[in-house]
Symmetry: C2
Subunit: 328 residues, 2 copies
């Protein structure tokens, strides 16, 4: 039985979409038990494997992350993280304030020995549909070269265990493919990565090739990674607006789009982040999953499933062992 | 009469596309004179306002930038830059090695007084079609906050004079819109920008909103800017592949696409970088324009036109005056 702690109060459409996702998840997976943290009065689920833990506070998107975690002791997010810390749950999922969730991970769940900075990882959809593990997308905005090296190790282990890639190709995101390209951070990181015995390092990769299946893991700092992630999200929307604006103004195009409707939906599904679940905070002594703030029930469900898979693969134990090794 | 120096030998398809573009440019603009640097034997143009200057060397894409500029004294790129330096031409255009062109700008054309680091600027197409001035896209990969501030000033002047925007809205590219967001670089830059009397600073902008017409000038460091630019280019291609792969596999979709063909082409034109010319290296004592390495004749033509407009607006003189002011 997998026990997963869920923050009922986090995200734009909480608790409705959280409740819908939790209900679907416990119905789909017989080996899943949910500890649901939030306002008991708002919980509409009645299921033997869903246990509501009443909390009286909620952390908002506007709350200052560290202060919120330290002060709102009876918030759904803090209590959820404590459930992982004290071993009641192996993983937790929240769609709430990202910064606060990272702080909860860091200060409540705690880092694994040997990990200096946790990293936020996502799996991006790719052209061939294989997907690529991309990190850090925002945990550590002022990274040093050794943090990038550690991100590579965390990403490598994640790709091996969660994505079943035996020898993942690890690439460094950079502004040129040649070894000497980049800023001082990527130049130093390149030097560390190319000497690694653990990693199958395939060199630099440019931002134009991220979705081209040229690597299984792409490593960058939290500032650049967050930037690229938001750019990917935004560009798809901006392109969509331009295309819609031009095409939908004519009747003949509306007909043409109607003909392709089903296939366009299939493409949207392939590119849909919510199919891939949320982002996982790696390097902690427990699985912490962030579902998108503007999550729908499907995305939150995917995030729960992702937390379950991560628990199932015992990724935290493997990281504890492997990252520890590097320290000796 | 505007005299523009052109590198005949730079870029993937030189000299063919360069010659095609130069011929069209002198035919379109009566007040344009071109100094064409390269192998005389390969020049097929015979026009009273095109003057060929024979050179014996060429800088390749693989050449190490600074060394190439210092050693290949009789290269088309070095001679072209010297024409700007000695006042024979007001601007120069090359589709060659970007790093080498930046070095030629820095070491041959020279910086304007008060400019610590030149910046590479592009105009990106936007959803509403207004375009946005985006810099630095690769001149200065390890920028400091004061460099970002100077980029903002350069971009502000560029938007005012080349794009005719009286009071350009200047934004800082960042990983959140709130003032306290970002890495140490953007936090420091924010503090400098918000106190500026010259600029109309509108705060942080996220990468997802770059094409949304929320700003007229977007400022970032050369590492991040280059990353975003390549991401924009690559994502459009990757999306195109996914869409084509799925849609073109069915006959009915081929018909539907045929119906929309003309309008799809119009969209492609709106999003086409080559319509906007190349990137301009700002902060130098002359106009230096980089046409895309994989330029077609149309893109190179746009780059020449851009060099002409920049000369016409006397942007270098204005920058000399305005950037100088800041120093007193």
């Amino acid at each position: 039985m997998f026990k997963i702690a869920v923050d009922m109060m986090g995200g734009d459409d909480a608790p409705d979409i959280v409740l819908e996702a939790v209900e679907k998840a416990v119905n789909d997976f017989d080996d899943l038990e949910i500890l649901l943290f939030g306002d008991q009065a708002q919980c509409t689920i009645n299921h033997p494997r869903v246990h509501v833990r009443h909390t009286t506070e909620a952390i908002s998107m506007e709350d200052e992350p560290v202060r919120a975690i330290k002060r709102k002791k009876d918030s759904s997010m803090v209590k959820m993280a404590e459930a992982v810390k004290n071993g009641e749950a192996t993983a937790c999922v929240s769609a709430g304030n990202t910064g606060a969730l990272m702080s909860a991970g860091l200060f409540i769940v705690g880092r694994l020995p040997g990990v200096s900075r946790p990293a936020l990882v996502v799996t991006l959809p790719t052209v061939k549909g294989n997907g690529v593990v991309f990190l850090d997308v925002g945990a550590n905005a002022d990274a040093k070269a050794e943090h990038l090296y550690q991100n590579a190790i965390l990403g490598h282990i994640y790709a091996q265990n969660v994505r079943n890639i035996e020898q993942p190709r690890v690439a460094l995101l950079n502004i040129g493919t040649e070894a000497q390209k980049g800023n001082s951070l990527t130049k130093q990181a390149y030097a560390l990565l190319k000497d690694s015995d653990t990693l199958h390092f395939v060199g630099n990769i440019e931002a134009k090739s991220i979705l081209e299946d040229d690597a299984d893991v792409i490593v960058t700092d939290g500032y650049t990674g967050n930037m690229i992630l938001k750019n990917l999200e935004g560009i798809a929307k901006s392109f969509g607006k331009i295309i819609k604006g031009t095409l939908m103004s004519k009747f003949k195009n509306k007909i043409a789009l109607l003909i392709m409707k089903k296939d366009i939906k299939a493409i949207a599904k392939q590119l849909d982040y919510s199919e891939y679940g949320g982002s996982v905070l790696l390097g902690l002594d427990g699985v912490v999953v962030k579902a998108h703030g503007s999550s729908n029930a499907k995305a939150f469900y995917s995030a729960i499933r992702q937390a379950k898979i991560a628990s199932d693969t015992k990724i935290v134990d493997i990281m504890r062992e492997k990252v520890g090794e590097k320290d000796e």
